[in-house]
């Protein structure tokens, strides 16, 4: 089985919740965003649960989750070794 780790960065309100800028998470196999999110809910509480819009089942439009720099919306997005996941808010552009 493949082992690996990913970097998770927290910005804005997520940084306030976790009191961390960055964590490293071990992943033991190819996993999905949903699995990572479940772990974060366990660690840091329900604010991470609210990342998901309960009506659509997708990442809420007023939250920005980036996987290797790309904004993602689906919870079944695949996460693999050396990926960088960013939890942030849609503020950008200049």
């Amino acid at each position: 089985m493949m082992k690996g780790s990913i970097e998770i960065l927290f910005h804005a309100s997520f940084r306030q919740i976790t009191k961390k800028r960055k964590i490293i998470e071990e992943i033991s196999e190819e996993c999905t965003f949903e699995r990572i999110l479940t772990r974060l809910v366990k660690k840091y509480g329900n604010d991470f649960h609210n990342v998901i819009n309960s009506q659509t089942g997708k990442i809420s439009n007023d939250i920005l989750v980036m996987l290797n720099g790309k904004g993602i919306r689906d919870t079944d997005e695949k996460i693999k070794d050396k990926d960088v996941l960013i939890f942030s808010l849609p503020v950008g552009g200049g």
Binding site: H11, A12, S13, G71, I72, P90, V91, G92, G93, G94
Partner: protein
């Protein structure tokens, strides 16, 4: 009604003032603010005039919605032919000036001529007069405002003022009001300086009558709730635009060392949270429930004590990433200095970063450096250059004060490649190489490289494509590195912002960052409740087209065309060296980019040289004025 707000024609040469009603039919075509300013600019200026000559116009306009208790409806639009670019000069400023002007009975000012000696215009409850400003000349932007208040013994006066940079005709001097607000871009402060106009001050106690006050009140509350319940606004309320840095400096969408790198290494001292240490509270512009401005105090160091407001993300780039300075204090001091001198933070930062890169590349003769150590990260030299440029001190300060194009001519052709400018105006410290939509926006902006003309910031968020189609009205890719459909995105945002600038509200409270923020539909309602005018969404979009096409006609008449809607060559030649996988190694592909421009022109119904067709002019009711 809002209709009784007038326009004042102020001739500084003769000292004569005339006031007139603003025609309702013009209102319907251009709304107010930027729209009406553009109409006046296009119709009242002869092609080819010297922007610093007395014949240039200085246009000041509040918006159609100015004064409502929502959406930051205190914005004022200032326009002229730009002394920096020779194209449309136009800059939008927040704060409290525009509502005060409206309370004083005016929506628009058209200032022409040149005063014999330093002067300021005073507008008070329907009366306009020109006063001697000899005692204000030489004062900084803070002192000037204080002095005017004290002269009139009224602390509620709001003024648009220039500092030393405007007096010294620095081509990118800005116009300022309050502690923070600036009409930064295109050198409107330089135009004021050229007219010997130190300030425009106003105080008003007249009623502004809105058509349906109760409906308006309810709807404004609804708008405010909609805005403040969004996560975006809550973040902006706490960290201001500095919060953008967390995103751009982890992904690689930020320029560092001019344009050499796209991430700032060891840049954690510029993170927005660092600002907490200096912040005593947040402040808002008129009618804004977001309050994105920090009120900060710097207690220690050679420049202390400083009380200031800001800084914006722009200043964080100007005195931070672009020049490789890594301390928040540098940003705070730089921000204070540019505010004091009245000079555009973005332009001065861009030009300092350029000169530092030229120095590194050996393209600057020793004599040219004027004895300055132009190494990256030298904050003292950044402060010194802000001062020298504002004061036009020394050869280097004087050359840089004229802006990119004249400076390139003096320093040498080779320097042009490193100048991150479009139409003579510096670009923000964002790196648009991975994002074709953002790149298209800066290339086609009517006022030169700029992110506030058409930037579709929501392209960066990977939103569902169905949602993008719903907003923009056609299918497009949700991948920000893609070219698909991005011309439509830029076109749509350009129309939205043209209308936004004409109704006088804050762009941040429209579809800039947040998809669920107000857009044309909400504007329609607000316009009806304030003015009883019924303007539908398609009609508002057409007004947006009319404004942008008028600007285009103005620029074309000044000799601009497709050849000027371009990106700096580095966008095509140098791939991004750093960043997350989707961002690293990206550059703009020339052919695809050219097709984007083609598509963008055809959406505007301009020909492939960017010239509006006769049919388009007729449809929009724009006269084809060639002189």
């Amino acid at each position: 009604m809002v209709w009784n707000r007038k326009i004042a024609y102020i001739n500084l040469t003769t000292g004569k003032v005339k006031t007139k009603e603003i025609s309702k039919s013009l209102r319907k075509q251009f709304l107010g603010g930027r729209g009406l300013n553009m109409y006046h600019l296009y119709h009242n200026l002869k092609a080819g005039i010297d922007p610093l000559g007395p014949e240039n116009l200085l246009l000041i306009g509040s918006g159609l919605l100015t004064g409502i208790p929502a959406l930051g409806a205190g914005r004022c639009d200032i326009a002229a032919k730009s002394p920096l670019t020779g194209a449309v000069g136009d800059s939008n400023i927040g704060g409290f000036f525009a509502p005060e002007l409206r309370f004083a009975g005016f929506d628009h000012l058209m200032i022409t001529g040149k005063a014999e000696k330093p002067s300021y215009v005073w507008i008070n409850d329907g009366e306009v007069s020109i006063h001697d400003a000899t005692h204000l000349w030489g004062k900084d932007t803070f002192e000037t405002q204080d002095q005017i208040r004290s002269d009139h013994n009224d602390e509620q006066i709001k003024s648009l003022v220039i500092g030393k940079a405007g007096e010294n005709l620095v081509r990118y001097a800005n116009v300022r009001t309050g502690m923070k607000n600036a009409a930064g871009r295109t050198g409107m402060g330089c135009v004021m300086g050229s007219k010997n106009l130190k300030a425009v001050a106003t105080r008003g106690t007249m009623d502004v009558e809105f058509a349906y006050p109760d409906k308006l009140l309810d709807y404004c509350s609804e708008m405010n709730n909609q805005i403040t319940s969004s996560r975006w606004a809550r973040a902006q309320s706490k960290w201001g635009t500095l919060i953008i840095y967390s995103n751009t400096n982890t992904t690689g969408l930020i320029r560092t060392r001019n344009f050499q790198l796209n991430l700032l290494e060891d840049g954690e001292n510029l993170e927005p949270e660092v600002m907490d240490e200096y912040t005593i509270g947040m402040s808002g512009c008129y009618g804004c429930s977001v309050h994105c401005r920090h009120r900060y105090v710097l207690k220690e160091g050679p420049y202390a004590p400083i009380f200031g407001e800001g800084p914006e993300y722009t200043s964080l780039g100007a005195f931070g990433t672009m020049v490789d300075c890594k301390k928040m204090e540098t940003i705070l001091i730089g921000n204070h200095l540019v505010n004091k001198y009245g000079i555009d933070t973005l332009e001065v930062g861009g030009i300092i970063a350029w000169i530092m890169e030229l120095n590194e590349k050996g393209l600057l003769s020793e004599k040219m450096t004027d004895g300055l150590n132009l190494e990256w990260g030298n904050e003292e030299v950044v402060f010194e250059l802000i001062k020298r440029i504002s004061m036009r001190e020394g050869d280097l300060g004087n050359i840089l004060a004229d802006g990119f194009l004249p400076a390139i001519a003096k320093i040498g052709k080779e320097s042009e490649y490193y100048a991150m400018q479009i139409k003579g105006m510096s670009n923000l410290h964002s790196d648009e190489r991975p994002t074709p939509s953002l790149a298209l926006g800066i290339a086609t902006s009517t006022r030169g490289a700029d992110h506030l003309r058409s930037r579709p910031a929501i392209d960066l968020y990977g939103l569902p494509e169905e949602l993008l189609e719903e907003i923009y009205g056609a299918p497009m890719s949700s991948d920000y590195t893609s070219y698909k459909g991005k011309s439509r995105m830029v076109w749509w945002q350009e129309l939205l912002y043209a209308v936004t600038d004409s109704i006088g509200i804050c762009k941040f409270q429209t579809v800039f960052c947040a998809v669920n923020a107000p857009k044309f539909e909400e504007f329609s309602k607000l316009i009806e409740y304030t003015s009883a005018l019924k303007i539908s969404k398609p009609e508002l979009m057409e007004i947006g087209e009319r404004i942008v096409t008028t600007e285009r006609m103005f620029n074309n008449r000044e000799g601009f065309s497709r050849k000027d809607d371009k990106l700096p060559e580095r966008f095509f030649k140098e791939p991004t060296p750093l960043g997350l996988p989707i961002i690293k190694g990206k550059k703009i592909e020339k052919e695809k980019f050219n097709s984007l421009i083609d598509e963008y022109y055809s959406l505007h119904k301009w020909d492939n040289n960017g010239v509006p067709s006769e049919e388009t002019l007729q449809r929009l009711g724009i006269e084809n004025k060639q002189s």
